[in-house]
Amino acid sequence: MKLGVFVNDYKSTVETVDRLTAEKLGIIFIQNGVFHATIKDNGKASPILDKSANFYALSEDLATRGLTNTDVDSRVKVVTYSDVVDLIFNDYEKLIWV
């Protein structure tokens, strides 16, 4: 299964995402999910980033929150709305929101 996961919240989503497995897993941080890609809690990056997955963060949602590309963890690719549409149509068979 090629699974794309939209993560749109910060703290409450970690356990759910941690249980997900897929042949190809893409995690797309949007809305407050972008804090997973940027904020280090007590110096530690979000545990979600330890998963074996492709990570993306929506540039518009980063900018809305006063965050820049330099805040983003090196494992995460910054994408635009248009890139997300491409991911939806070209890269993943199933998409879920958590």
């Binding site: 280090k40 809690d41 900018a63 929150r65 006063g66």
Partner: protein, 136 residues
């Protein structure tokens, strides 16, 4: 006659819900509440950003450009313009690795007040001394 102290504790991050915005706008609207008080009595509001609530305080938020809504940064600036005391928990800023230079201010709008970065112990004192504690 003693004044009424209100402490607005904001613990939720920005935008996914209206919670943080509501906390700030409620605090700004304290002047309307004064109409309901006895003569000579005042409301003294204090906003306290704690936990993930400190994430509301980042500057250069582009909410109008991307969402078409007023940014929480603008709400904070408006609060400072009406001389609202807005305290930001120092330990939580450090926990999330946010330096003071990333924090919003309303200097460009001519506000005298600034966000006050304080230890949690000071926020605790504000909560203890308040007549009403409102958590957002």
């Amino acid at each position: 006659m003693s004044n009424v102290k209100l402490a607005f504790l904001i613990q939720r991050p920005p935008y996914k819900s209206e919670t943080a915005t509501l906390g700030i706008t409620h605090a700004i609207s304290y002047q309307v509440v004064e109409m309901l008080l006895e003569d000579g009595q005042n409301v003294i509001p204090t906003v306290c950003m704690v936990g993930e609530g400190v994430l509301n305080c980042l500057k250069d938020q582009k909410a109008m450009e991307n969402y078409g809504v007023m940014s929480i940064e603008s709400h904070i600036k408006n609060g400072l313009l009406v001389d609202l005391d807005i305290l930001v928990c120092k330990e939580d800023l450090a926990r999330f690795g946010i330096s003071e230079d990333r924090i919003a201010d309303a200097e460009d709008m001519g506000a005298d007040k600034k966000l006050q970065i304080v230890p949690y112990a000071e926020i605790q004192k504000v909560m203890e001394s308040s007549n009403h504690l409102l958590v957002f």
